[in-house]
């Protein structure tokens, strides 16, 4: 290594022609469109049958992003927010990058109906809540026809702008990208994470966050220019946006995308797209792997050759050892190996990834004593009946530091002690949009009494877990939050609608909680003074339906006598204690209703 004799920094003016050294996404795309990769496809969209609809090279993507940016700048200025729905084909890629070229802040949201239509849907309500929070100047649609037909009343005061624009006039194009798009400190997007309409919280994600976080993902998973990322994830989700849009730009890799609906209609389309490429990286939540096993018959698996699949990140939901084993066994005939799974942990507040297992290393699965875990200690056990099987979420990626802290005293805890996971990372975002106080609490936490940590500020993840031998394990959530399909919901919502659903529950107390670690769904206990079995049967059904309308998951409702729901001395509902009592059979319900099969224990 050379001795640094000169104090000069690396000259910034040397063109690198690669996204791997870029400091912003816009810089990455411009570099790539000027290099040897300029005419090699960067992204391809597949249709529902798995056939390509459209491919773009870096040069074409750059040109389309500039054209849109020029149109956007006629509506607003740098720093203004633009709603970017999960548009079909490559329209999201163009729309998102167009915002960034314009120096504007992209706000990815689920697709929604733009044409006039009576009635409201929860999706429209959620969109209205997000718009109320971030006050956008424009919303993107695919074509000018869509823009013309859009229902202006849906988003009053917001301009509808087509992603597909004629090429920018030279004068406008020359002024782009906006200089702020080359500054890592510039806000690139707001990532809304909550599924509850009452509480939209947009994480402020900067260019520097995106680049640092996904460069760390690239390095950990060895994503190379020869790698293809095959994704069906929704773009409005942090994992979809990061792995299908950001990761290819910072790694010079290629992306093949399809709509979530394509995967769900026929998971074979995803697996065939994987089989068609040479070196494949994917990311998906746990349920996706279950869906593949359930929906692809054994006799069809043998026709798939998945030997080119090198990294299958499993994240954004709790990772289940059973899911990975089952998938690996089912697709062994397709040359899939279990070490292709890279379980990981991450959250939008840290851009995405915090920890993820190395490419092609066998997953770490360990059994910890159930009773000891309940007391906050991770004690390995070899007795299957006593143990809870946990999947390690890897070690932290480069430049990330994790502390497990006592959420009350803020003291750092030792290895194998369960506490709240705190993260110090270049991916740590700038807070929640327009919520200074909450942002300071969540994004700028400091450990108490740790000298070596005086300068570190942490994101408090709200997740509970421990570190064992450098490996991060997640055991649950500190706050009472229900995570459904990767989105956060609050138990208060379920409790309120359950109580309002029937006169037998009016003015009573309720407690809602997730059914269990392995079982998706929510359970609600409601107190009542009614004893008539017929009335109670109607009441639990009405409450179940009402809860199911606000929480998109399986629902069980239990009616119990008054004053049976456990609470603290100050009267706060102890949801966890309530759940344990019901599971242990200590809280005998007067009536119960479940959307699940009656033979399924809830």
């Amino acid at each position: 290594m050379n001795t640094p004799t000169e104090a000069t920094a690396t000259p910034a003016s040397v063109p690198t022609h690669t996204g791997r050294d870029a400091r912003t996404l816009v810089e990455a795309l411009i570099a790539r469109s000027a290099g040897s990769d300029a005419d090699r496809t960067v992204v391809t969209a597949l249709d529902a049958a798995g056939d390509p609809i459209e491919s773009l090279t870096p040069v074409e993507l750059d040109r389309r992003a500039r054209a849109l940016a020029a149109a956007l700048r006629e509506t607003g200025g740098a720093g203004d927010r633009v709603i970017v729905p999960a548009l079909p084909g490559l329209d999201f890629h163009i729309g998102f990058l167009g915002c960034l070229y314009a120096g504007m802040i992209a706000v990815p949201v689920p697709a929604f109906r733009t044409a006039a239509r009576g009635g409201t849907t929860s999706r429209a309500e959620r969109l209205a809540a997000i718009c109320g929070d971030c006050d956008p100047c424009a919303v993107l649609v695919s074509t000018q026809e869509d823009a013309d037909e859009a229902d202006a009343e849906l988003l009053p005061g917001v301009r509808w702008i087509a992603v597909r624009q004629p090429d920018a006039p030279e004068a406008a194009g020359a002024a782009l990208p906006d200089p702020v798009a080359l500054d890592p400190a510039t806000t690139a997007l707001l990532q809304y994470t909550s599924g509850s309409t009452g509480d939209p919280r947009g994480v402020v994600v900067r260019h520097g966050n995106l680049v640092a976080n996904q460069a760390a993902m690239r390095d950990r998973c060895e994503v190379e220019p020869t790698t293809t990322i095959v994704s069906w994830l929704p773009f409005f989700h942090d994992m979809g946006l990061c792995t299908a849009v950001v990761l290819p730009l910072v790694s010079d890799a290629t992306t093949v995308t399809m709509e979530p609906a394509t995967f769900v209609r026929d998971p074979r389309v995803w697996l065939r797209a994987i089989a068609a490429e040479d070196d494949v990286f994917t990311a998906a939540p746990d349920f996706a792997y279950d869906m593949c096993v359930n929906r692809i018959p054994a006799e069809e698996r043998a026709a798939l050759d998945l030997s080119t699949w090198r990294v299958a990140v499993n994240g954004s939901e709790p990772v289940r050892a059973a899911t990975q084993r089952r998938f690996a066994e089912a697709f062994r005939t397709s040359y899939f190996r279990e070490e292709v799974f890279s379980p990981g942990f991450g959250l939008a507040e840290c851009t995405l990834v915090v920890s993820v297992s190395r490419s092609l290393e066998p997953p770490v699965v360990a059994r910890y004593d159930r009773d000891a875990l309940a007391e906050g200690k991770a004690v390995p056990t070899s007795v299957a009946a006593d143990g809870l099987e946990l999947v390690g979420c890897g070690t932290v990626v480069d430049d990330v530091h994790v502390a497990v802290a006592d959420p009350g005293t803020r003291h750092r805890l030792a290895d194998r002690v369960v506490g709240e996971i705190w993260v110090d990372s270049p991916g740590n975002c700038g807070g929640y949009w327009g919520r200074a106080q909450e942002s300071a609490e969540v994004f700028a936490a400091r450990l108490a009494g740790a000298d070596e940590d005086l300068d570190r500020t942490y994101v408090r993840t709200g997740d509970l877990g421990f570190v064992d031998g450098g490996e991060l394990f997640i055991t649950g959530r500190i706050k009472d939050v229900l995570i459904i399909g990767g989105e956060n919901y609050f138990p208060q919502d379920a409790e309120a609608v359950a109580v309002d659903a029937h006169p037998a529950f009016a003015q009573q107390r309720a407690a809602a909680w997730p059914l269990s670690e392995d079982d998706r769904g929510v359970a609600v206990v409601v107190e009542t003074t009614v004893r008539d079995p017929e009335v109670l049967a109607a009441a639990v059904r009405a409450a179940g339906i009402a809860v199911a309308k606000v929480l998109p998951t399986a629902v069980s409702v239990y009616a119990v006598p008054r004053n049976k729901v456990p609470r603290t001395t100050s009267g706060k509902i102890r949801r966890r204690a309530c759940a344990q009592q019901v599971l242990a059979g200590q809280l005998e319900p007067l009536a119960r209703w479940s959307s699940r099969r009656t033979d399924g224990a809830a």
């Binding site: 697709a111 929604f112 995967f263 209609r265 998706r520 199911a548 309308k549 998109p552 998951t553 099969r597």
Partner: protein, 93 residues
């Protein structure tokens, strides 16, 4: 064209029964266990799985349901209303 003759025979009740059968098969549940007034999401049909049902319904009734429609948050009764309005819109064209 054969779709049009089918469409005239389709009523909301018929759609509910069709949906009930498809859902029961997907979930491996008895059709009678499914309550037409419960949102499908409560049966484990998330917004994405619902595309399977949308696809099945589209093939069966010949009407194109709006692709951004997700049945997950709807009940069978509400989903049947969606299908009926799609069929009505189509027969007007």
């Amino acid at each position: 064209m054969s779709d049009m003759t089918t469409a005239q025979e389709i009523t909301a009740e018929v759609v509910v029964e069709r949906l009930r059968g498809a859902l029961a098969a997907l979930l491996e549940m008895a059709p009678a266990e499914l309550d037409a007034d419960v949102p499908l999401s409560a049966y484990g049909i998330d917004s994405m799985t619902s595309f399977v049902l949308v696809g099945d319904l589209e093939r069966w009734c010949g009407a194109e349901l709006r692709t951004e429609a997700t049945l997950g948050g709807l009940t069978m009764t509400e989903a049947a209303d969606e299908v009926m309005s799609a069929l009505r819109a189509q027969s007007k064209e």
